[in-house]
Symmetry: C2
Subunit: 143 residues, 2 copies
Amino acid sequence: MSRKINEQYIIIVGCGRLGAYLANSLSERKENSVVVIDRKDTAFQRLKTSFSGFMVEADAIESEVLKNAKIQKADVLVATTNDDNTNIMIAQIAKSLFNVNHVIARLIDPSRERVYSELGIETISPTALSAIEIERLILEKGV
Amino acid sequence: MSRKINEQYIIIVGCGRLGAYLANSLSERKENSVVVIDRKDTAFQRLKTSFSGFMVEADAIESEVLKNAKIQKADVLVATTNDDNTNIMIAQIAKSLFNVNHVIARLIDPSRERVYSELGIETISPTALSAIEIERLILEKGV
């Protein structure tokens, strides 16, 4: 696989709303190669017809699946499933077993953030992000 | 009810992860009065013991419930349930029937944003917010 400067090889685990939104958006930037993995074939219906990446129907908890998705070459792995334990496990496999440089996990239960940070995994909490944004809107208008 | 300058009376519908996170956070700012409405009593377990607002166990789709929650005095209503139709309906009731000045609704399916904006309801999409934030992290580190 020849790679352009700044091109990033990105693996997204989970093609739910967040995974699909991200995959669609990243695939629109021509400089990225995107692979999306989901256990359910139907999940890929969330991808736009213009999606230019690869789809892998499999369980990303199996490291064989990640190997087939060329995780050794990945610059980034994002775990976006709707289960914190799955996201932690996949993020850890990516980081420890395959030395993926940049691992990001969706954090569903904000109270579990410490577990991730102790493992050196960057997290995104949709709940916290949204609450902070709503609070900003409320306080801004209230002043 | 006497009100201080800058005090806002805020009704939060839905005490799920987002509603509770927001309620806890807003209640920590002493200048706000917060009421949280949820159909399920157990949902209020997500609130911290330090939560200083009111809890109403009821279905906010009934305008009687909103009246009892003093919606006529509300500066802000935030609809955070996990159902877009419920959020739209409550947001509309708050806006049209009770003239609440600032109405914000959680948007679960980002493709439905137009419906909300046509109704003049401000939305927060946890999915879109998170995807944008992840993308920022990826692109920042990739450069």
